[in-house]
């Protein structure tokens, strides 16, 4: 009984420790929009932003002050519970800001917008480009926080990692099993965060040089590196921007979708696998093949010059492969096959340990090799053979996990469309598949009408909650959301 009580107390302390830190990070992150709202005299968002910011900082410090922060090691279940409860709480308070800050926003709209912001899904119901500037900045900051991961940012600056910080962050970091590290996890995560911040800064400077206004550059940098879809510029349709700006946006969306842990190792010259065998190289290869194919199809069908079309094709393909989902070219006019190709890119998604969504390149590669391996076993049933990825042997459990995740991703896509279809009275199943794809891949752009940013206005509050769950599934890699509905997750150790 005593041990049980002790464990419960340790679990509670652990949760409060992380939760308080996230609140402090969140509260501090809300300060720049508060300043902008005060400076520009935007009274509607000023109050909710100010109150939320002050309350979070105060609550965070109070919890840390009154709670013993030494919790020791906790079980995985508590790590997952911490991640999902913290995310849900942050989503809720972010939606409160939208609810009070945007005129005419319902609670469901606000929740949907907050989820889209934090999960870096380039969609929304409130029309971010037309809300007050302070809220646009807030939206971009949420994108940035969500891209990196709230828990990761908070946990990197904890004094002690005796609570097995890696398992805590693994619940939040996309494709964590493909993390590449040369030193401790703590240093690796910190390096990833530093790289993320550095890329944001460099992008900001380049955008300023390219002639973009300072505030827009800040928002673009924050939103683009997190592959969130640049909702603050014409709701993600950025065809009107100058070519240098488009090139910068493309380069940094691409950088954000690479395996950041591998890039860190490359920078510090400790990469163990050759570049040509890395996941990131496969990603670049895929990008080139898709871009060349699309450019060829457009050039043939509309009799245009190949090379200018190739540029457009590369830029739009980066948008979808990185799951940013912004519209940077006239892709509405593209042939059907090009639209379908680019939509499939959204399913594959970016590299593991990046800010992008989708199934992830590493998993798709392993799944493809498993198919080939399965066929091989049909002919040589007793053969012993291994699958290699990123120049390493893939363990049997990793093979199963990668295949299972791919199948699960598609199952969530279809089941999500099925649940959304109940709400569609006038429209066809196009819309259901459309929105389900946009949400689960975190691209936020519709399937059948690539080039037309999706608006969830036609859906009921229940459907918006379903879509929000789908976005969370895409961002947190499904399992944490499944666990929310699992008995095993909620039942105590003894009862289980």
């Amino acid at each position: 009984m005593k041990i049980k009580k002790k464990r419960r107390s340790a679990n509670r302390r652990f949760f409060l420790n992380i939760f308080a830190l996230v609140l402090i990070v969140y509260g501090i992150a809300a300060l720049p929009p508060v300043g902008v709202a005060a400076f520009l005299g935007e009274t509607a968002p000023l109050l909710p932003l100010g109150i939320i910011s002050a309350t979070c900082i105060a609550a965070g410090f109070m919890i840390r002050h009154f709670t013993d922060m030494h919790s020791g090691e906790v079980r995985h279940r508590i790590n997952f519970a911490t991640t999902i409860i913290t995310w849900l709480f942050i989503l809720f308070i972010s939606s409160v800001v939208y609810y009070f800050g945007c005129e005419g926003a319902t609670l469901a709209d606000s929740l949907f917008e907050a989820t889209a912001s934090l999960t870096t899904t380039g969609t929304g119901d409130l029309g971010i480009s037309s809300v007050p500037v302070s809220l646009q900045l807030w939206h971009s900051i949420l994108n940035w926080l969500g891209g990196a991961g709230l828990i990761l940012i908070a946990a990197c600056y904890l004094q002690s990692w005796s609570f097995s910080g890696h398992s805590l962050i693994s619940a939040e970091l996309p494709g964590n099993e493909y993390l590449q590290s040369s030193s401790s996890y703590r240093i690796t995560y910190r390096n990833i965060l530093k790289l993320y911040a550095a890329l944001t800064m460099i992008q900001f400077v380049l955008l300023i040089i390219a002639g973009m206004p300072a505030l827009t550059s800040v928002m673009t940098s924050l939103s683009n590196i997190s592959t969130a879809g640049l909702q603050h510029i014409n709701n993600g349709v950025i065809t009107q921007l100058s070519m240098p700006v488009k090139v910068i946006i493309t380069l940094f969306a691409f950088a954000g979708s690479l395996n950041l842990s591998f890039i860190v190792l490359l920078i510090i010259r400790k990469a163990r696998s050759p570049i040509l065998r890395s996941e990131s190289f496969n990603y670049v290869l895929r990008l080139l093949i898709v871009s060349l194919f699309i450019a060829a199809m457009i050039a043939v069908s509309s009799r245009r010059d190949f090379f200018p079309v190739l540029g457009d094709s590369v830029m739009q393909t980066v948008s979808f492969l990185s799951t940013s989902g912004y519209i940077i070219t006239d892709c509405v006019e593209w042939p059907l096959i090009c639209k379908i190709t680019i939509v499939f890119c959204g399913f594959i998604g970016a590299c593991a340990v990046s800010t992008g969504g989708g199934i992830k390149t590493a998993r798709v590669d392993i799944a493809a090799r498993t198919v080939s391996f399965g066929l091989f076993l049909n002919i040589h049933p007793r053969a012993v053979r291994t699958i290699r990825s990123d120049n390493k042997f893939v363990r049997q459990d990793q093979i199963l996990s990668a295949n299972l995740y791919m199948a699960l991703f598609m199952a969530v896509f279809i089941v999500g469309a099925f649940l959304l279809s109940f709400d569609i009275k006038e429209a066809s199943i196009f819309d259901a598949l459309n929105y389900s794809h946009a949400m689960i891949t975190n691209t936020g752009t519709s399937i059948c009408e690539v080039g037309v940013q999706s608006s969830a206005a036609q859906f009921s509050a229940l459907s918006k909650i379903i879509m929000s769950l789908e976005m969370l599934c895409g961002r947190l890699e499904i399992y944490p959301v499944i666990m929310l509905f699992s008995r095993s997750f909620w039942r105590s150790e003894k009862r289980r």
Binding site: L336, I340, L375, N378, A411, F422, I429
Partner: protein, 488 residues
């Protein structure tokens, strides 16, 4: 080795020619002279090379010496040959003048898909329509299974060959010899077909229609002798007879023997069957509610009949139509799409992923979620009380991954032709890979596949065969391992 394979094809051609004699007799009975000529020519085209091969090779027909990869070759090649030779009566009789269209129709028949390029069935000769139905019945239980059932001397490796075309991950042995199992499976198949004919005759259907529809129902094929499909009969009784027999055809055939030997309770305790039955019931209830609330149905009875029929016809991958379900609310359409994915039971005549794989997939997700939460957990994934081996789990997952990749790749290739739209092309491929029949939008229940180009029809025919042969048997053809076995 080559002699054995050639010898097999010799017998196979003779068997195919033998099957064509049944519609030939019907053509003679109905006085369809041009069709009789078409069948005679087709029979000769199949029979003469068949006999010549047998006479020249002199090889004993034993699969015992066959390597595994040749088994796959025999199965895939047999299905392609059957699809090409089976198209001859359509082309020669002029019922389907275009050869590619005819191959599509035959492949759709043998694979029990039921997709058609024919706009009007009522005007076609009866013998041709019967051949269409017969191709489905032959393909339903499997051409090679029939071969093994008829030729018990085929040897111990016949199980490998038949296994390559049997739907589902396992073949349960009912008899000590596989040829005995094959014979018993066909016996159950014949008994159920005859029983359905009797029930349909009670509903006032003509003998010709009853036989044709019984052949296509038990094969979960979905070809009808009328353009309007089952709606032509406008009878609730007939609709329910179809519903019940389609459900039975979607059940694991081995369970009929289990029920016969150990009582129905034992059969009902099968986890796959329970999952299949519960899926059907839930889908029916959801669609009834949806039709009554959003679909404009006033009568509960009509909603129940239509939803039960459509749910069973889609989950068993039969693909008949009593109503145009592409006009139903989006929720019902999406539910039917979900069922197209799942399909019915293994070792039935249905296509799709199969309930057993879906069931194990759900258990694997549960296990994976537990494994993530509790890293040191040691727990088995069980099916029917037995532990599932890691290799079996890998094969099941590999199948699902292959299914998804094939679906996406074929949709992509189909879209290259520029025809249709995304939903049309996606559901066309889905319906072909799962061997259902109709899709949605331009390939809906009241439409057909005639607008697709020749390339698209060949592609869809190959997708049907791939789906019918459980993907890997067919896919092996395109791997270097198959053509260069020494490459390891």
């Amino acid at each position: 080795m080559k002699k054995i394979i050639l010898g097999f094809f010799g017998y196979f051609l003779i068997l195919l020619a033998g099957c064509m004699t049944i519609p030939l007799l019907l053509a003679l009975v109905y006085g369809e002279g041009h069709c009789a000529r078409a069948f005679v020519v087709s029979i000769l085209i199949a029979l003469v090379p068949g006999i010549l091969i047998r006479l020249t090779t002199h090889a004993s027909l034993s699969a015992s010496k066959l390597k595994l990869r040749y088994s796959y070759f025999i199965v895939t090649a047999s299905w392609i040959i059957a699809s090409i030779l089976g198209a001859l009566p359509y082309v020669i009789s002029g019922s389907i003048p275009d050869f590619i269209d005819a191959v599509f129709e035959t492949a759709s028949g043998f694979t029990t898909t039921g997709s058609t390029i024919l706009p009007d069935m009522d005007s076609l000769p009866k013998s041709i329509l019967f051949w269409r139905s017969l191709t489905q019945w032959l393909g339903g239980m499997g051409i090679i299974v029939l071969f093994v059932a008829l030729l018990p001397d085929f040897g111990i490796k016949s199980r490998n060959i038949a296994g390559a075309e049997t739907p589902g991950p396992t073949i349960t042995k009912i008899s000590s010899r596989f040829s005995g199992t094959a014979r018993m499976l066909y016996m159950a198949y014949v008994v159920l077909t005859v029983a359905e004919v009797v029930f349909l005759l009670f509903g006032g259907m003509s003998l010709y229609d009853a036989v044709n529809h019984a052949l296509t129902t038990m094969a979960t094929g979905g070809y009808s002798t009328h353009t309007a499909g089952i709606a032509y009969f406008d009878s609730t009784y007939i609709t329910w007879v179809f519903t019940v027999f389609m459900f039975l055809a979607g059940t694991n055939f081995n369970l009929f023997f289990v029920a016969f030997q150990s009582g129905p309770r034992k059969a009902f305790s099968d986890e796959e069957f329970r999952f299949y039955a519960v899926s059907v019931l839930i889908a029916i209830v959801l669609i009834v509610i949806n039709l009554m609330t959003q679909g404009g149905y006033d009568s509960f009875g009509q909603a129940l009949t239509d939803s039960a029929f459509q749910v069973v016809t889609v989950i068993t991958t039969t693909g008949y139509a009593t109503v145009d379900f592409s006009l139903w609310p989006a929720f019902s359409q999406m539910l039917l799409i979900l069922l197209m994915f799942t399909g019915a039971s293994s070792s039935s005549t249905a296509g799709g992923i199969k309930e057993i794989r879906v069931l194990v997939f759900i258990r694997m997700i549960k296990y994976e979620a537990k494994r993530i939460l509790h890293t040191n957990i040691v727990e088995d994934i069980r099916y029917n009380g037995k532990k599932m081996l890691p290799e079996t789990l890998t094969f099941i997952l590999t199948f699902i991954t292959t299914y998804i990749i094939t679906l996406i790749a074929a949709t992509f290739l189909l879209s290259l032709t520029g025809a249709g739209n995304l939903v049309t092309n996606f559901t066309a491929v889905l319906t072909c890979i799962s061997n259902v029949g109709p899709g949605l939008d331009l390939v809906g229940p009241v439409c057909n596949f005639s607008f697709y180009s020749g390339f698209a029809k060949i592609l869809l025919s190959l997708v049907m065969i791939a789906g019918r042969l459980e993907l890997s048997t067919f896919m092996l053809f395109f791997t270097s391992y198959f053509w260069r076995p020494e490459k390891v």
